[in-house]
Symmetry: C2
Subunit: 439 residues, 2 copies
């Protein structure tokens, strides 16, 4: 055991993990940019009062990292998501609406660490600030879908619902007083199943008849048209339900991945601030929970800006996506370094090393990431190092090479050795690298 431990639920990312993460995040970012989303960043810390009362009871009492600044005696908290910071941000910056922004950064939640759940994790958020229309919700779902598909997770499904449909049915038609308690139980459906939900609802104190009605309602799911018709028939007279239905129908017109989309009345989502459509992305395999999600939050930004600014957005969970991709074999943790070439100095005098440095410089100037010895090691030790790192091309530099202005290039994968004049080095290595890509 190392003497200095890493805080529980926190993680280091060594190079092979970071190289994969950067690849995945750059695909996500490129997708966001193509849709016209622009980056922002906000502080890791916010004043406690900025985050207070936005995420629900559990978040506030258990999950938020909250602490007192010993100098100012003010309470700070580490940010819990990227949506509330966006809302606070908007009260400080005048930006033309609609504002499409992306924000890829870390957040902190004092969760019980488990598979796919950490205390520090990264979110990839996209939001459209300013539009009340279903086409904005559709665009958010489209850009997230495309990002997930571009990453390589083709077998995702989209669950869709609307908070107004839930509110209309539960709070109005069923007259539940504390619908939020029911939502919290329903939110566990994936983990505890219908029987579990039934039991917990009874324990919460709902009468049997109501419990059965809830179970019946959250069992409604399936292809959008079918389900919306069904809901319309059952609850369409309720105004809020109807608003939700109309909004979802228009939204569905503009969805690119409609065949992957189902409406599920059991989808409630945890956060308090949603007001309209809500959605979640799941993969069948592995069983890892949702990999992305989001929804409309028309009233959140007003708290900060004093202006009614309807908004919608969603977020991809980096850790879940990467864990899923690794398990499905879409990603591999095989690349340990960006370096492609190792310049091996056969002698450690000044003259040879200066030649090795000039060789390395040439390679770098040609865009080829290159290592050069800094350990004054033997030839064998340097070769062993290159092997461990997974660097397959070695450029040997010794007194002979120096005096003849040449290099000896060795391609480990094809066990090929070639002595070339310095001026042909780049072309030869580029050819070696190209061939390797095709094997």
């Amino acid at each position: 055991m190392p003497k200095y431990s890493i805080p529980k639920g926190f993680r280091d990312f060594p190079p092979e993990v970071m190289i994969l993460r950067k690849k995945v995040l750059s695909i996500v970012e490129e997708t966001f940019k193509k849709y016209g989303y622009d980056p922002i960043e906000t502080p890791a810390l916010e004043h406690w009062e900025t985050l207070k009362g936005k995420y629900g009871e559990e978040a506030e009492n258990k999950l938020l990292y909250r602490f007192k600044d010993p100098w100012s005696n003010r309470w700070y908290a580490l940010r819990y998501d990227l949506t509330v910071p966006l809302a606070r941000f908007l009260s400080h910056h005048a930006i033309p609406l609609p504002f499409r922004r992306y924000h890829i950064s870390r957040v902190w939640r004092h969760e019980n660490p488990q598979r796919g759940r950490y205390r520090e994790f990264w979110q990839c958020d996209v939001d459209i600030v300013g539009s009340p229309y279903p086409e904005a919700d559709a665009e958010i779902v489209n850009v997230l879908s495309e990002a997930i598909e571009n990453i390589g997770l083709k077998n995702f499904k989209i669950k869709l619902n609307d908070r107004r449909i839930l509110a209309g049915i539960f709070e109005e038609t069923l007259s539940l007083k504390n619908a939020i308690l029911a939502y919290r139980v329903i939110d566990k459906l994936d983990r505890i199943g219908f029987e579990g939900v039934r039991k917990e609802l009874s324990k919460t104190g709902y009468p049997n008849k109501v419990v059965e009605k809830i179970i019946e309602t959250i069992s409604i799911s399936g292809s959008p048209e079918k389900v919306l018709d069904e809901i319309e028939e059952m609850y369409g007279k309720n105004e809020r339900v109807n608003e939700g239905i109309v909004h979802l129908k228009e939204m569905l017109d503009f969805l690119k991945y409609k065949d992957k989309t189902s409406i599920e009345l059991s989808l409630v989502r945890g956060l308090d601030y949603y007001t309209g459509p809500i959605f979640e992305y799941v993969v069948e395999k592995p069983k890892i929970g949702s990999i992305a999600g989001g929804g409309r939050y028309d009233n959140l930004i007003e708290i900060y800006t004093g202006k009614h600014i309807p908004s919608t957005g969603g977020s991809i969970g980096v850790e879940r996506v990467i864990d899923a991709g690794l398990e499905l074999g879409i990603f591999k943790l095989s690349e340990k370094t960006y370096a492609k070439v190792y310049v091996l100095s056969l002698k450690h005098d000044k003259k040879t090393y200066l030649y090795a440095l000039s060789v390395a410089s040439m390679l770098r100037e040609n865009g080829i990431p290159t290592h050069v010895d800094v350990m004054r090691r033997s030839e064998q030790a340097q070769r062993r190092y290159a092997l461990k790192k997974g660097i397959n091309i070695i450029v040997y530099v010794g007194p002979k090479e120096v005096s003849e202005n040449k290099v000896t290039i060795y391609d480990r994968m094809r066990n090929l050795r070639k002595v070339v004049a310095l001026e042909y080095m780049i072309d030869t290595i580029k050819e070696f690298l190209k061939n390797k890509d095709t094997t």
Copy 2:
């Protein structure tokens, strides 16, 4: 004043700032990668005992964000730099040495906020873990120099010194008991000048003769060869001074930017963990302090790993580099969005909007970042929005375009309007974009 303020010394980055920052950071990262450095990431939080005693008294008592986890009752701290986290990281991961790593991420210090100094800021670190040799120090200085030059800050200078030279002169030849106190005063030279240093040293309690000797020593500066000869003559008999001289001489053989390098005995650097060469990058204009710096720390990693692992590294301060570049006119905050094209929907019926979406999709598939209306605004309002955002190409889509399978393309910069069949849209727009780049 917004109702919810941003914590003092912390900053939001709106899109125009982020777009610039990302550009600068990607240049830095590309340079690091070319030299064979690989990325790691570590948690924002470390256990307090991990950071304790590593940075000196001021950091520990005033600058470290430290707080108690209310759940575990353990003390945490936000990381203060990226070097101590690297050392802790190495006690958890077996990585072949030398380990060249880069780490671009944020750190927190409870500084008094002022120009170029914030409580949350970003560092770009490169380190070589495992090599005791001057060629490793030289490589660090070279990769940092190249990154700074690639960013566009060509007029930097490198100040170089060695902790052993300082220790040899101050602690051994001058027999200062609390040399660290003198270092702290000397560290302020840039701000308070020689007279200020003289006064503060006297106040600290050093006898006049010693103060004059200190002033004389820290006045030594100039081209490396000249200064090293001078020091050798004055203090060369001291073993530590001599070690420093030999190390610096070898290092200088491998420096790419020797003409920009001077040795300055007044360079001490604040952090406690340095043991060998130390260096700082400054620009003459604007007066913004150092933009990068670093040094050798041969004993730090052993504290965490139990193994003697000599290491060297350095860091570029993102905020200083960006502030300097902005002031020098090398950078501009002109780009407000990545979007290049705005698809303007002239009617807000389903048919027209679906056509607009398919047009936007085509553009995106061809790598052109594209906005499409989600506000159901009038033509004029949409044009005003595109103008505000700085999007110069508008693609008009109305009933006429839909029925004829065409688009109307407008290039604001050249006041050019062109109606083209959908199949020629991409080529036309690519041409428009190309021409704009050259104006």
